[in-house]
């Protein structure tokens, strides 16, 4: 028992019994901090992407539905977070942090960024959950990107200025958002996670132990 120190209130902590299961779903501190770091870094990229979005979507203005191709730039945080942390809620958490940061810096979408972030993260999260948080291969990453794409497709065609456009345009937007999700959010995130693992930055994570152990 820890001995009483003068002048302080001591709360004795009873150690939680260790579970025999190797895989645990409880978030460690390092999970939270690294997920936040990835979220923040992604948030800065989201903000920059948001700046570039206006001219880029202007370029695509000849076919308004194609603006969906740019949507992937805001979807990769959740997939990347999920692939690295590999715990329930990672995709949603990382995407929300990214949305908050891009909002703090200043985007034209203001607070709706947060709501969008939550739903987009949910889109990826549901895919990871469907695989019981056990399968983290390329296929699942691509599907998660697609899931986020579906989420943003639904949101954008219902609640933003895109809701004011024709149905045909909305359909094109939806499909291109999903494609963008697969390529940018799915493939790129998977590559980034792999690059991180190779550099040894993920030594405290299960995702960093894909290579054979060093002697």
């Amino acid at each position: 028992m820890p001995s009483l120190r003068k002048g302080t209130t001591v709360h004795s902590t009873i150690a939680a019994p260790k579970t025999a299961v190797r895989r645990t779903y409880r978030w460690r501190v390092v999970d939270i901090v690294v997920a936040s770091v990835i979220g923040v870094a992604s948030g800065v990229i989201f903000w920059a992407w948001g700046l570039a979005w206006t001219p880029l979507s202007g370029l695509l203005a000849f076919a308004p539905g194609l603006g969906g191709l740019l949507a992937g730039g805001w979807l990769f945080a959740g997939v990347l977070g999920g692939l690295i942390i590999r715990k329930p809620g990672a995709a949603v958490y990382t995407e929300i942090i990214a949305a908050v940061v891009s909002m703090l810096i200043g985007t034209q979408w203001g607070f709706s960024t947060l709501i969008w972030g939550f739903v987009e993260g949910l889109g990826a999260e549901l895919v990871f959950a469907a695989f019981l948080y056990a399968n983290w291969r390329l296929g699942v990453a691509l599907l998660a990107g697609a899931g986020a794409g579906v989420a943003v497709g639904i949101l954008d065609t219902s609640f933003t200025d895109y809701a004011a456009l024709d149905f045909g345009v909305k359909a094109v937007y939806f499909v291109s958002a999903v494609v963008s999700g697969v390529v940018i959010a799915g493939l790129l995130s998977w590559l980034a996670a792999r690059g991180l693992a190779r550099s040894g930055a993920l030594s405290r994570f299960a995702s960093g132990r894909t290579a054979a152990p060093r002697v």
Binding site: P2, T9, T13, R28, R198, S199, G200, R204
Partner: protein
Amino acid sequence: MTAENETTGGARIIARGWGWRHASRRAPAVHGLDLRIEPGERVLLLGRSGAGKSTLIQALAGVLGGDEEGDATGELLIDGHAPQSARGEAGLVLQDPDSQVVLARVGDDVAFACENLGVPREEIWRRVPAALAEVGLDLPLDHPTAQLSGGQKQRLALAGVVAMRPRLLLLDEPTANLDPAGVVDVRDAVAGTLQRSGATLVVIEHRVSVWLDVVDRVIVLDPDGGLLADGRPREVLQTAGASLAAAGVWVPGFPPARPVRRPRVAGEPLLAASGLAVGRTEFGRRRPTVVSSGIDLELAAGESLAIVGENGAGKSTLALTLAGLLAPAGGSLEALPALARGLGSQPYRWRSRQLLTRAGMVFQDPEHQFLAGTVRAELEVGPRALGDGLGRADTVRVDELLERLHLDHLANANPFTLSGGEKRRLSVATALATRPQVLLLDEPTFGQDALTWQELVALLAELVDDGTALVSVTHDRDYVETIADRSLVLHGLSFEGRVIV
């Protein structure tokens, strides 16, 4: 509750056959450790790299991670219970000052540990100023932590630990990345804390002389398990001193070998600065903030110049300017014909590729310069950037560098997975791959153990003797004595640029 006796007493550490294997490694980091440390003892933990010192310290702090991160064998007890169940009883200070600051204001950062321990609010704000005073950090509570120097950040980390009133103080190379003044500040702050609280101390450090007067016991870990030596400092250093020095520890009385220098032959002048002012442009500003001005210097081939001065005097900024990476903020910096070889006389205006064979810069933090996925690819970046792909001569050069710097067995490893000394050697090697005429180094010996220091100094001496001009920004007195022909002392904005021969 005021003016109470702050003695918390020390923790007793007992290890019985303890070992730990990281999940990503095959061999255990520590095994078969039997140890007993009494309350209030002050222990210096030594051993060659890979002996498991950091692992032991992290285990004592309770932060080694659970089943997810590895397997434990045997028993490790602090005051009779496992370290994890009483996190916050041991205070841990790590090596990197930047990675320990949690919050944006000084007072909040110190209060963080107390908050986690459930200390009541009034008590927290009594402890915070007391802790800051104890470590000698005389700053207002809302001072931004981002504006602290390295030594100040380490003392801030120590203040946070002191506010916890720990019974066990654990320090993992706390002074490795600090200048000599910072080292003394931290050491004195720790000594004062131990005096007041009577806590147990376990400290890892390469440089034994810093802690020799503070500790009363030295333990040397054996990479093959167990202990190599354990006893009073003088005795251990006498018996195991030679082998420790061979393993890279800075043992007083066993200094690293200094290279033999050839007599200096004056070469062609390469760089000339006259009334040079250096500074950086802040984000969003138009004009640079000048940190040092009125600098006059001349650099010729085969010469070695050391730039010394206090923190904040602008040494790194000067090195970056001389290397053509920052624009001069005033005055003139001229590259003479022998260096410019057909280009303009302003290094800042040269293209990146043109810098490769003229001025090579090695940054203070090697990780900032890593670009490739393997060590070999890293060395090939420079020759590739010169154009025309990778020729036979280039491959030969890369192999030669790998061998010379003892990196050949790591040729396929990812640069980030190397140890500190290996990363430093790699970053120097990458600058050398394209044979620059001038080599600039920013704090090359920071945090280096004696072996790496020796090898680096030998390599640099050879380079200088062969005709490369060397500019080193450094705090290291031994390094200056060994390598530098001249010194340039910077005093910040009130500059007195005396060149000492």
